[in-house]
């Protein structure tokens, strides 16, 4: 069976094309692009909520998109134990829907951050199976609100349930700080308890082609397919 996937486009999404190319090139299967006003999703193995500024970030990043018509079916898709990946604004949307815990607040230096960052895996899940322990991945970030925040109780349960997928770390020869945006415990990505939903701030879809400075973004799709 070939791997099927879909990317949702909201008004203001600007990484939807990047995510479509990423899936097409790496899964070799059917990839659907779904407009936010559509009522239903096709049966697919993976749905990506892409990066960008859905609805112009008005109200709060991800808040308006979380009320879109397609979201009902996105929730159903996730409840059927199929994969759901939110990248950057997609991660923000997932926390606004309530499918993931915590929230993404403004970066600690109050500025947009667009650069290469380094992450490694914390707890094992199906999204990071192909990544070795202590392997440092180089993947770009581009966000203004990427500072992951949650209360102590939530943090404790994220740890107890091994829901922290990725954390920021130091890169070799890099003079930038370890925790680039001030996230609690340098969290870069988390899953739900069942670990079929991942939200992450770094953009793996910008790190997979030969001409990109790193191809580490491939590992996430490879993890899901193998």
């Amino acid at each position: 069976m070939s791997f099927k996937s879909a990317v949702i486009t909201f008004p203001g999404s600007n990484c939807d094309r990047d995510a479509l190319c990423y899936l097409q090139d790496l899964t070799k299967g059917v990839v659907y692009n779904i407009w936010h006003e559509e009522a239903s999703l096709p049966q697919v193995d993976l749905v990506i909520l892409p990066g960008g500024f859905s609805f112009g970030d008005y109200l709060r990043s991800g808040a308006m998109a979380s009320k879109s018509k397609i979201i009902n079916d996105v929730i159903k898709h996730a409840n059927d134990d199929r994969y759901l990946l939110g990248i950057c604004n997609g991660f923000q949307i997932l926390t606004e829907i309530g499918l993931l815990e915590g929230a993404l607040i403004q970066n600690k230096n109050l500025k947009f951050l667009g650069k290469n960052c380094f992450i490694k895996k914390k707890f094992k899940n199906n999204f990071n199976l192909s990544i070795k322990e202590d392997q440092v991945l180089q993947i770009p970030v581009a966000h203004n609100e990427g500072n992951f925040y949650c209360d102590n109780e939530t943090l404790k349960s994220l740890k107890n349930n091994e829901q922290i997928a990725f954390e920021y770390c130091k890169g070799e020869f890099s003079n930038s700080e370890e925790n680039i945006n001030g996230s609690i415990e340098a969290i870069a990505g988390i899953t739900n308890k069942k670990k079929n939903i991942l939200g992450m701030m770094p953009h793996p879809e910008r790190a997979y082609s030969d001409f990109h400075p790193s191809q580490d973004g491939k590992l996430i799709i490879e993890s899901l397919i193998t």
Binding site: P11, G12, N14, C15, R17, D18, C21, Y22, W35, G51, G52, F53, F55, G56, D57, Y58, K111, F112, L113, G114, K115, P140, A142, N144, E172, F173, N175, H203, E205, R206, S209, F211, H212
Partner: protein, 721 residues
Amino acid sequence: MNEDLILQHGLTLDEFKIIKNYLNRDLTMEELGIFSAMWNEHCCYKTSKKWLKKLPTENEIVIQGPGENAGIIDIQDNDGIAFKIESHNHPSYIEPFNGSATGVGGILRDIFTMGARPIATLDSIRFGLIESEKTKYLLNGVVHGIGHYGNCIGIPNIGGECEFESTYGFNNLVNAMAVGHVQKDKIFYSKPKSIGGLIVYIGSKTGKDGIHGASMASDVFSEDDEDDKRPSVQVGDPFMEKLLMEGCLELMSLGLIESMQDMGAAGITSSSVEMASKGNVGVLINLDKVPLRQPLSAYEILLSESQERMLAVIDEKNNLKVKEILQKWQIDYEVIGEITNNKRVVFESNNKKVVDLPVDIIVDDAPEYDREFYMPRKRKGKDFDFSNIKLEDIINTLLSNLNYLDKSWVFNQYDSTVMGDTVKEPGQSSGIVKIHGTQKVIGATTDCNPLYIRINPYEGMKYTVAESYRNLIACNINPLAITNNLNFASPLDPNIMGELVLSIDGLKTAAEKFNTPIVSGNVSLYNQTNEIPIKPTPVIGMVGSNQDLKKINSNKFCNIGNKILILGKQLEKNLSPYLLQDQNLASNINEYNDLEELDLDYEKKVADCVLKMSDFKYIMSCNDISRGGVFLSLLKMQYKDMGFKVNIPDPIDLFCEYSAGYVIEIRNEDLNNVSSFLSKNGVGYFEIGEIIKENIEINSKKFDYFDIINNYHNNFEKIIN
């Protein structure tokens, strides 16, 4: 009509007399507003037109030269590249965040109006000295504004320049450039095709923002003007522009539009007059149909510069389909008029004609001035005393001067990798993006050397064009064409006018030699506040291509042990203006020696060799040499744990400027081949040293590697905070 009113509208009494004699009647207020908008420098180039006509604008690859929303060049197959640079200087001084954001928004609209999808932005920003709190405020606001708009709409920023110099203290410069990709058979122009076509309004509702923006941009400032002029600054909404862009590109891809023009400077007035003039037709527009954000008079609607708006002409049969597509994108859409055959611009409001003017007088009869200009004075030769200048001191001054330091603080606030096609991010010799779905790449760079141009406008401009050229060559990008943004102070001063005239002449000479025509551009005059004129700042945006992304040169060191060679001609230290300025040897502009004449033939010869050696894979990495000399070029090439050791008879020469200057890294085993290739082509080289691990050595003297690297990368942020 009373004289004060005329002068307030930025027209001279002589200009007004021309209009009145032509019409043989009094003007309505709305008509006065139209002339105010259309006859200012920003829209009609009345001072610069005579000289701009001399520029080379055509060759075998130019599809569209100046005169449209953007220039377009052919990069083979069905691919065209649309690009343009534009200034938003005055608005960015009054309100740095919105002023710079809408600068980006405006230039992006110029690109997608032609059917091109924007694929990259660049910028060129200049501020006063950082010691001033005002500069910090402007720098923060401008960078935030540029980032906010580009990041949100999702176009990668791939490069630019950022300079600090005292004359920009009360008149900062913000020039934004955009590059787009278009299929050659799907280019859209502003010229309407048929009489009777519907004129439609697409985009944001019209509000009071930006009324008289274009005439403000053509005005001299005084410091206390700021608060008065703030309502003239437009407010941008990049989310709306994203929807507008996707909506317009969808309409164009379906062939539902005949022609399109963005409502930029001077809003609906300028866009409709342009349409009529290009098509040699008339326009009839009912202002009551214009979607409004708040109640506005006809006069205000005509002059509003509200952002994210387009004017298009469509065939009536497509009306419903267009409406349906724009509804999906949640964009306002209204039929507001039609194309007529009477060559008149007519605006109606409340069943009354408020404007009824022949197109000819607005466009063709716009004033054109031949202003007086002076040639620069001859310079006396002077020898500067370098005896007290130590190597360590020069390095320390470089590493504490913002103009030399790594500017990650700026470009880390920009999204450089969105769209997934970025090959080279900002901070390198030039920015490079791939054409989506192909192996072709486009390189682009912006440059200006204001100090050189003040010393000698003609030669200085040649150096500026040559520096852009080298930025592309160093990456193995074949330079193709130019867009320019001529920022000057008041042309009423014959010295300033002389700088304008001579630098255009220098641009012409260099562009002809490099076969890089000027296909689009912008002029920004009266850049002076409190009688302090800015340095002449004609910024060049140069674009080039390579058909194969695998052939692109790295600008960073590749391997320890590789040899470092210098190509080009070093300027003697008494003839290196930035070295003299930044080591505080020359304190007054009159002290500098004249520039050494730039030999464009040699510049081209060396460039051709670099391109060939890149294709032969002799070059492992390459960087051009500019301000800061060989030393800064090497520092920019530093990568991972690599450093360099060099030997040079006079170490001060490491900081001298160059013509045709490149640093190249080659493998030891290629040295003989490279040497014979260069001598066969009549290009000399100097083997200056090699790449070593975690060290910087000059003439066997060791410097603190980590100290220098950390200062280079971190001092910018330390200094500005």
